[in-house]
């Protein structure tokens, strides 16, 4: 039994050192990915306006009807995304064959949508999924890291259950062990569910459809070779195809139809409306929403809806939460906690806290390994380990790198060519140059202090540059109720303060570190 325990610890440590840093990167950018909708509003100058009207009071047909008579805009399968859903404050028309059209809901002006050309939020989200590193290669590596992290969590759980640990002792080794254990156990369950869904997404669902080829062939008796062919149509059903009557008819106003849908199913928080065969006598409209009283069962891919006829508003179909295929609800249940779609800010903030706690727990785990390395030398010679410097580069260097990406978003002119390329390049260069500081400075405390001070200054500059260059100061933002944009600024300031406090508390030399370890 003792041998098994020793082997367990050894395996946990080895896998932790190999995958720990990538694991940290995924978790760190996951926090930005939770708030990506707010960042996507913050980064666009076209979305800097105050929303004066409520979602229910927007005269949608007044803005949209003229556009729908334009022959260049397709009338079938056209999606109108209502403002405030997904925290975008514009009314958006989208269809797969046209460019997105964004409309100001206050006065019906067409906004010049920047699209993904300046996508900072999209970039930070992609660093979480692994797409920038040669797409499928990155997806696979990050998926394997997710599998390894499930492995680490399970081995860690077995250790905590079988081996008796004591929380006593004031050395750095004991303290980092204590906090590594505590933080990981507290947030174990939500993180495990999130990583199961993440590993499934990256290894099988999204990237490598070949990985699931064998099981698909066995289960479907060689009819299908990739999973979308076998279950794609039940998991993501496409709308029914019906024939046009071919006669022009006047439709009811869109806001009247919206009002009717709200009377039919008042529990829903409506997100978007899809128009089918519009301006034809067979026209239908599907209004999809999210039922907040059933989290985990709807909101991500399973959206309850009300389908109405375009001419007179009579009901065609009402879809409730549990009307969907069991497979869809199951898929929804597994992935809900990973995506928290359409949830309020409070839920997203709580999830971010959980992820941040687990991230710090991971950092303590790596610290624990390094303290064990120090123990061998026991203050005889000064300690310099390449792995400690590499982990400092990746863990602390990520802070100034994200900060400079936020700074450049409002520093570069918006009509600049290859803007996102420069932004990404400077982002990675900053990250590397933090490595220069971490490796070149002999005293690791001083190096960490320097990196954190740089990070705090850059995080402080980012909202100031935004306030100056956008023309929307903090007081103006608050008075116009533009809280999603102000919230990102406050979050950046909070990160700046966090970096500064971290750098300030950290002692100047390694021998003084003991005071801090005693206090926690």
């Amino acid at each position: 039994m003792k041998q098994l325990g020793e082997r367990l610890i050894k395996i946990h440590a080895t896998a932790g050192i190999v995958f720990g840093l990538l694991f940290y990167v995924i978790m760190y950018f996951g926090i930005f990915s939770i708030f990506q909708n707010y960042i996507k509003v913050w980064e666009k100058p076209s979305r800097h306006f105050a929303s004066m009207v409520k979602k229910e009071d927007i005269p949608i047909s007044k803005y949209v009807d003229k556009m729908l008579l334009d022959p260049n805009i397709p009338k079938n399968n056209l999606k109108i995304i209502l403002p405030d859903s997904k925290n975008d404050n514009a009314l958006v028309l989208s269809q797969m064959f046209i460019k997105k059209i964004a409309i100001n809901p206050n006065n019906g002006e067409k906004l010049q949508d920047e699209g993904r050309r300046i996508g900072l939020g999209f970039f930070l989200h992609n660093l979480h999924t692994g797409r920038p590193f040669y797409r499928n290669v990155g997806f696979t590596i990050f998926g394997i890291v997710a599998v390894a992290s499930i492995f680490l969590m399970l081995t860690g759980l077995i250790q905590v259950i079988t081996i008796k640990y004591s929380n006593k002792g004031e050395s750095a080794l004991k303290k980092s062990s204590k906090w590594h254990r505590k933080l990981s156990v507290w947030f174990f369950l939500p993180i495990l569910i999130i990583f199961i869904s993440g590993a499934a997404l990256n290894l099988q669902i999204k990237a490598n459809k070949k990985f699931s080829q064998a099981i698909t062939q066995i289960l479907s008796d060689n009819e299908a070779s990739k999973w979308p062919e076998a279950i794609g149509s039940t998991l993501f059903p496409s709308p029914e195809v019906k024939k046009k009557d071919g006669t022009f008819a006047r439709m009811l106003a869109l806001e009247e139809l919206y009002e009717k849908a709200r009377q039919i199913n008042p529990n829903l928080d409506y997100i978007d409306m899809r128009l089918f065969r519009w301006n034809d006598s067979s026209a239908e409209i599907e209004l999809r929403g999210y039922n907040p009283s059933y989290p985990f069962f709807n909101g991500f891919i399973n959206l309850p809806s009300v389908t109405l006829k375009g001419i007179d508003g009579s009901v065609v179909k009402i879809k409730r939460v549990f009307d969907a295929h069991w497979m869809r609800i199951f898929y929804e249940f597994v992935h809900f906690l990973h995506f928290v779609p359409f949830m309020s800010f409070v839920v997203k903030f709580l999830l971010a806290l959980v992820v941040a706690g687990f991230t710090i727990g991971t950092a303590f785990g790596i610290w624990l390994y390094l303290e064990k390395c120090v123990k061998k030398y026991d203050n005889k010679i000064p300690f310099y380990h390449w792995f400690s410097r590499l982990s400092m580069t990746i863990m602390l260097g990520a802070l100034p790198a994200t900060a400079i990406a936020f700074c450049l978003q409002w520093l570069f002119p918006f009509d600049m060519e290859e803007r996102i390329l420069f932004q990404k390049g400077i982002f990675f260069l900053t990250w590397l140059s933090m490595g220069l500081i971490a490796f070149a400075r002999f005293d690791s405390n001083k190096a960490a202090k320097n990196i954190l001070y740089i990070g705090s200054v850059l995080f402080l500059l980012a909202p100031i540059i935004h306030w100056l260059n956008s023309g929307y100061g903090p007081i103006k933002l608050a008075s116009l109720n533009m809280y999603p944009i102000l919230g990102v600024d406050i979050g950046l300031l909070f990160l700046a303060v966090l970096c500064f406090v971290g750098a300030f508390i950290l002692p100047k030399s390694r021998t003084e570190n003991k005071k801090i370890w005693k206090s926690i």
């Binding site: 050894k10 998926g143 399970l154 099981i215 289960l219 479907s220 279950i231 199951f330």
Partner: protein
């Protein structure tokens, strides 16, 4: 010659005293064997025992990545090299035979 084989078998059978070394064979057996067993074991349970249709594909699609580390831990934590080989190859050969039976 026979003495050498006997000595080797004895080493093979006894519990390792030095648990601080993991060993390459053990890790390769655990990771690749765990992948094979979890990947095909789940589908065989669904196909042979429950006689599932293709709708059940969603279960291995979502949970393969969870059963892989579980089987890997089970193989990793065996007492001796013999147990590692037994835990890897008996399920693998059994699953392989069932697979040939299903496909062929």
């Amino acid at each position: 010659m026979i003495f050498a084989i006997k000595k080797y078998l004895k080493e093979f059978n006894c519990t390792h005293k030095n648990a601080n070394k993991i060993g390459w064979v053990r890790s390769i057996c655990a990771i690749l064997g765990g992948l094979f067993i979890s990947y095909f074991g789940l589908i065989i349970i669904l196909k042979v025992i429950f006689d599932a249709s293709k709708d059940a594909l969603i279960i291995p699609l979502l949970f393969n990545s969870f059963t892989w580390p579980c089987v890997t831990i089970w193989i990793f934590l065996s007492r001796s090299s013999k147990v590692v080989f037994l835990r890897t190859f008996i399920p693998s050969i059994f699953i392989g035979m069932v697979l040939i039976f299903i496909i062929g």
